[in-house]
Symmetry: C2
Subunit: 338 residues, 2 copies
Amino acid sequence: MPPVSLKVLARELNLSVSAVSRALNDRSDIAQHTKDRVRALASKLNYEPNPYASSLRGTKTKTIGIIIPAVHNHFFSLAINGIEEVARENDFHVLISLTHEEPEQEASIIQVLAGGRVDGVLLSTARNSQASTHLNVLRDRGIPVVFFDRVYEDLPTATVTTDDYASGYQATRHLLEAGCRTVAHLTISDTLSIGKRRLQGYVAALQDWGLAYEEELVLQGHANEALNTPLIEALLRKRPEIDGIFASVEMLAMSSYEACRNLGLSIPEDVKVIGFSNLEIASLLNPPLTTITQPAYAIGREAARLLFRAIQENVHLLPADSVELKSELSSRRSTARL
Amino acid sequence: MPPVSLKVLARELNLSVSAVSRALNDRSDIAQHTKDRVRALASKLNYEPNPYASSLRGTKTKTIGIIIPAVHNHFFSLAINGIEEVARENDFHVLISLTHEEPEQEASIIQVLAGGRVDGVLLSTARNSQASTHLNVLRDRGIPVVFFDRVYEDLPTATVTTDDYASGYQATRHLLEAGCRTVAHLTISDTLSIGKRRLQGYVAALQDWGLAYEEELVLQGHANEALNTPLIEALLRKRPEIDGIFASVEMLAMSSYEACRNLGLSIPEDVKVIGFSNLEIASLLNPPLTTITQPAYAIGREAARLLFRAIQENVHLLPADSVELKSELSSRRSTARL
DNA sequence: TTGTATGCGTTATCAT
DNA sequence: ATGATAACGCATACAA
């Protein structure tokens, strides 16, 4: 069955297309009686305005794009939840695209979305994305962007992040206070914004404790998650004095658990582990994992809120509009002082 | 900066709009030389065709819709991964909408998507959705739908599911073989397709063991996840002879762990637990959780593949096109025979 | 209060 | 080989 258009309604009601259009948009220059007739038929026939025709005229697509590395990740799925909710409140739709951590994918997605598919973009960058030139298309088209969590630091727009430096410092201090003297740091990328900041916090904490920073103790995880456990095992074998692990992402904390299990190392007796994580069930792990939890849902909401300000009130987003939220450390048995 | 349109390219090249259009679409009636000129300028100016204008002419939006209860759930996020991948392979976009388990939301989302926003829909129904009449809009508009995991059983279209009855039977048998004699079943809904089938498998297994089915041992979880732990605690207190729990979804298995911990019950000594789950880290739980794992990623891919067959080859999907995949039981310590 | 005409960006059809 | 024109569905400016 062909979709119900204004034309169909107009023919049926012996009205002009424009009269029907205005009736449905509740314009003041249409008789109440006519509005009633039109609305009755529209709902009877399940009329739904073609959003693409509207956007072709105006240039609001009522759609925002989310570009993230993966959805299969507690942090991102919680963030999406927050974003989707705000979008719904604003009567917008959400287009989701995954980069799978590949900068080229990220660039191509942006290029396509910029072609008029969305009114705004929420972006958390791929692990190895470096130059931000592929974002120029968005700027040129006047499509606002808000970064969340993983940001490009040199871009003149708003970001929503957490206090990664402070959290990195705090996590490391937590291990040192628990008695660790040789703390390894597992990161996903030392060029990525969050990777850099968390690492800086780690380094600063070591310094304050009078401990030397050793590059060898910093392990960069592999994109292929299956490879991380053996990498960590190798590190623990090479440096058996390691008594603490600070994992900058959930996945690396889990790989650390597996590595310790495979090597017969006990947590927290032999090695203490702390990790960034949004696992609700951290307390059900063996042993319960000490976590730094980011307010993922709030981050999503906040980022979306900023984006809608830009879209609907037509304000230009500036770095000064950026928001920083706090993460929370939950101490559990994986870092217990013995 | 205004977006680059065909008109802009045409003016710049002293060509007609239609010539430019055909050049970009690589039509045979355009001189190679001209094609080259056009393509060069297009890529120089980052020309991107306006997808909404194309879809207005044709009626392919190059977009599919995913409608699911939540994204914050391992099963669904893995499925999305599979779907997004197939969509990308077909050069399609993915619109994602969450029902938050509310049938009204589901209906309203469908109504809106049917208004020409997507070329096809992948749907996993909300927990309490009953009537499927809100899907008629899609049928009327000729928009194909593929259900995955949670399906409407009375609908003449294809579904992608797992062998839920067999899995329910197998899970229950697993507990009985481990020595359990009073097995509770935790479900999210006994009207939902997957809930019904898993329950039927549970009932059949009890029967084959000569055990009576007791309605009291079947607990329906609450949509508000926080309420489930106390509900399970209450059940365990009321029926202290319960020595096995079969949780039909991951969340309820986790709540069972918490309930047991709160009551001081040991797993698997006092109570054995098995649950449907896509937690990669089930083996890191305390104790490691015996799981029935659905091939979530494959389900997503398969559902998307079917949908694209319908969209691109214009075939009408029938129940006979449905696919059933197998889940896998991984036995771990939570159901160890002692 | 309602109708007519126009244009958004694209593509198909029919000229030239 | 290229150009002119019309149409998709909608919303606006203007006419009646």
